[in-house]
Symmetry: C2
């Protein structure tokens, strides 16, 4: 079989992956969902034509979106994950013993079902007694919360389709209120190569709402351009003040205490995007 | 026009770029050389089907292969660049005023000619009075040298075709002899995702020859997997002992003094490749 999955990144740039097997394809209420097995990257979840996770490199994204805020906060006990229906970020958050509850709010139940059926190494987290799944619209859910979470992680897809309002002021303002007075919001904020406008926009909004806003980077092979940004907004704690004992205690494949420090070091062209 | 340049990275993974114009195509004595203009990344030099540089992101590779050894060495005056016929690494090295001579040895004169014709922003360096071009086989050239260079940069293409012997013991041993007694050798050592065997092999060889061997990383969008490794082997100086005044003095777009420190921080899976 010579079938290739082709992901359009920009009008002039595509990634192309050899497909071993197509396991599942369905138009859900919210998006077109596919599970395929790639020759080089194993099983892969695709939403509206964009790769969300692959077996081979999901550890990088999931570790980096989770451990940075988890180590920056000295004692995170209640964590909300918005999006992230693949369970990868929840798996990382639950590596910390002090966590009492992780709520995951995913708008599309079909994502959860696909993970349960095709990604057993991720679905395990759904059975953790500290894990609570809520199938609902994260934007509406957060509006009803106040002073409740230590950390909110926005593990969204790209700002098109169902995720578009997760990159706007009203949502971030609701997250601010839903967080405790020393809470941390962490979002994925796209590629510094292809989405400079998004990075600038979310940084500007978050700086108007939070005491500390810091951008950090990771290198994720299956995401467009490889270079990927996260933006962490915090009411009280800053990464540079964090103790690293808790970073040492978790079992990871990308993240280390040294990576915790160095991922905030930005190349000059990224500092320029942020006007630093 | 809807023409796409497709680069085979592995049997199951390709990058695909929209072509605006094909400027030049020629089978040289050594390789198939193309200059095309990409929709998203500008003009682009391709050798045997692999992108070497694009106008849009060449600064990352060229800065990172050059400035790390240039800052690690306290007073580099004579530098040899093997390969690197595009002139990008030479351009970066010549940003340091203390440099008296940069020799660039490129096996394929057609690469130089194509740069002169199609990449004026790179070709400028060929007219610098401190720059000396030698069209010859770098492997043979280095054999004849002893105790001559402060820094040797091996800016090779992938270890297939004309570059294959640039990843072998005899060549590195000749570089050791060609360097002064406090000299530094720096090589590009491929992707930690797709070429773990190459990184392991060159690290093992270089550790048998040099006092210090250190791996560092950069994120280069147009190279396979984005994540790219360099291996620096030094007879005397180590990066961690370097003063950063000289790093502050150069004008760059990716490299900064903070990047100089942090690029040596390796994700856990890369440390595992290196058995660190």
């Amino acid at each position: 079989m010579s079938i290739w999955f082709i992901e359009d990144e920009t009008p002039g740039y595509k990634l192309q992956w050899k497909v071993n097997r197509i396991l599942y394809q369905k138009q859900t209420k919210y998006q077109y969902l596919e599970v395929i097995e790639l020759e080089d990257f194993g099983r892969c979840l695709i939403l509206d034509g964009a790769i969300q996770i692959t077996e081979k490199d999901e550890f990088i994204y999931n570790e980096m979106i989770s451990h940075i805020p988890m180590v920056t906060h000295p004692n995170p006990r209640k964590v909300l994950i918005i999006g992230g229906g693949d369970g990868g970020a929840a798996r990382e958050v639950l590596k910390y013993k002090e966590v009492e509850e992780v709520q995951l709010i995913e708008i599309d139940e079909e994502v959860i079902n696909a993970i349960r059926e095709f990604f057993p190494q991720l679905a395990g987290v759904f059975d953790d007694r500290r894990f609570k799944l809520i199938v609902d619209d994260g934007i509406e859910f957060v509006k009803s919360k106040q002073d409740e979470y230590d950390i909110i992680i926005v593990d969204s897809s790209d700002p098109v389709g169902p995720a578009v309002n997760l990159f706007e002021y009203p949502f971030y303002n609701d997250c601010l209120k839903a967080l405790k007075q020393d809470g941390i919001l962490n979002i994925q904020s796209e590629s510094p190569f292809f989405n400079q406008d998004i990075i600038q926009k979310v940084t500007k909004i978050l700086k108007g709402l939070f005491k500390h806003v810091d951008t950090y980077l990771a290198c994720i092979p299956t995401y467009p351009s490889g270079l990927w940004s996260f933006t962490m907004a915090s009411k009280e704690y800053r990464y540079s003040d964090a103790g690293l004992e808790r970073a040492n205690a978790v079992d990871t494949r990308y993240f280390t205490p040294d990576i915790f420090r160095s991922c905030f070091t930005l190349p000059k062209f990224v500092k320029d995007i942020l006007c630093e």
